[in-house]
């Protein structure tokens, strides 16, 4: 089989902004900070960059134009993506394809948001709901009239059905939340820096049952960015490169409510394709960075990727597999549940840095050679997978 892009492109710089609660900086400003950091790490100047693919809040249009202006870049290939939390890996896939097509040679990819700042009302009283979805995009029928709002409910519906079909429990979800919190305690940049016990998990208020407070990812300000260029060029750059071995996206766009999509997500097809491109399988993965918008979504994606069998995700996560030192250390930064929710961009950065081996021993996955990163979103149906390898 023809595998034209495996190991041909690399990530050569990563950057993060300040994370969590960052008042006084816009989403674009946060992304600017992350992109400057990624360029510095790569040792590249603005004129070395000729591609820009990014994304941010849905009511800010043409991010790529605004970001390129801020950074002084004339981009040959440039666009903003719209595939929810699956966009960020898709941006890296598009960067590889654009370079391969000769449309660009070095592409800056990033995502930034100011969701926490938006959740604060001007008078200092906390607003009930961050204004994340532009009003023109909000559903007007088949949902709101029944009190069906927000991103928690569709995922909670999936969780409930999974619990019904496979006997999954909130104990399983708690194991995921606690594992990632334990990782966040080792990450000075993480928003959540207090231990989370089983008692804390069950004592917390319910949001949309079966999800309580700690099943839900954080409302964060923050941004992340990476630079993609050819593996050949990467050898001459400042940072230790990480090879892009496989990527794919798959979208169950027929609908989250159709077929068995709520309990068997597009991670399955997206994962199969990415593993095929990489010439690898789940057994080869040393650490996973899974899109954890909600605890349950980690559990089902682990099943769908084949890290365990369908229906056995509960036992898998309760075995301690996800913790540092476990068989599949997952979301080693704390993830979106405990570090910050930046739509999967930070998990790409974490995957790269694990392979660069930059962390102290308490956070570093020992001898990590292969990492799997996932992206999920866009009305819960869109999925993307990225497989990275040590150069």
């Amino acid at each position: 089989m023809r595998i034209p892009l495996r190991d041909k492109y690399a990530i050569v710089g990563t950057g993060k902004s300040r994370l969590g609660r960052v008042p006084g900086v816009s989403a674009l400003g946060l992304l600017e900070d992350a992109m400057v950091c990624a360029l510095d790490e790569a040792g590249l100047r603005a004129q070395d960059i000729d591609g820009m693919i990014c994304r941010g809040p849905d009511d800010v249009y043409s991010h790529h134009q605004l970001m390129a202006q801020r950074l002084g870049i004339n981009a040959a290939f440039s666009t903003t993506l719209d595939n929810g939390g699956a966009s960020q890996i898709l941006a890296i896939a598009m960067a590889c394809m654009a370079i391969d097509a000769g449309l660009a040679s070095a592409v800056l990819v990033g995502y930034g948001r100011d969701s926490w700042s938006r959740s604060q009302s001007p008078d200092g009283k906390k607003a009930s709901e961050p204004n994340l979805v532009p009003s023109a995009q909000r559903p007007r029928e088949h949902g709101p009239e029944f009190g069906y709002f927000g991103a928690v409910a569709p995922h909670a519906l999936g969780a409930r059905r999974h619990m019904f079909e496979y006997g999954t429990t909130r104990e399983d979800f708690a194991a995921i939340a606690m594992a990632f919190r334990d990782h966040a305690l080792r990450n000075p940049e993480a928003s959540m820096r207090k231990p989370l016990t089983r008692e804390d998990y069950f004592a917390a208020r319910l949001i949309v049952d079966p999800f309580g407070l700690y099943d839900c990812s954080l409302v964060s300000d923050g941004a992340g960015a990476v630079v993609v260029t050819s593996a050949e060029r990467a050898r001459d750059l400042r940072a230790r490169p990480v090879l892009i071995k496989g990527f794919a996206s798959f979208n169950n766009t027929r609908g989250w409510f159709l077929d068995d999509h709520m309990v068997s997500t597009a991670a399955q097809e997206s994962g199969e394709r990415a593993f095929r491109m990489a010439g690898l399988g789940p057994q080869d993965v040393d650490t996973a960075q899974i899109y954890d918008c909600f605890t349950y979504m980690v559990l089902t994606q682990l099943e769908d990727y084949g890290f365990c069998r369908k229906g056995e995700g509960g036992a898998f996560v309760r075995s301690g597999a996800l913790t540092l030192g476990g068989s599949l250390p997952t979301n080693t930064s704390g993830g979106q549940l405990s570090e910050a929710h930046v739509e999967g961009m930070l998990q790409i950065v974490e995957g790269v840095r694990q392979l660069q081996g930059v962390y102290a021993s308490d956070r570093q996955v020992k001898d990590a050679e292969i990492v799997l990163v996932s992206g999920h979103g866009g009305n819960t149906v869109c999925h993307s997978t990225l497989i990275l390898g040590r150069a």
Binding site: E141, E145, F146, D209, F211
Partner: protein, 135 residues
Amino acid sequence: MTGYRKPVPVPSHESKPYWEGLRQHRLLMPRCEACDHRWFPPSRHCPACRADKVAWEEVSGRGKVFSYVVFHRTYHPGFADEGPYCVALIQLAEGPRMLSNVIGLPPDEVRCDMPVKVCFEDVTETATLPKFEPA
């Protein structure tokens, strides 16, 4: 029926017959006259065979709870006094799935695969909502 504070549905061009049917306490679903496929929400072509012969046909209103959640958080002021309420994905006997509320029992007694049947709530002079109760 004045003072209704919850969101009132805004029909689209495609869903108008659905909402008009509900006014007459009839639950209508699109059915393809070419291949007999039924689906929801409505569109101008059959998602199964692409035919544009869409008929609106009354369904039995019987089905089961495919999945359900209980809202504890208030996202809209119209639901502030509601207490925890159940939103469910209903699997209709005829095939399509639709969101609704399960009413007539405490939300923590709802179960997946529980048999339900439709009932109709006239919430304003112009809007009727399809809700479901234990069958």
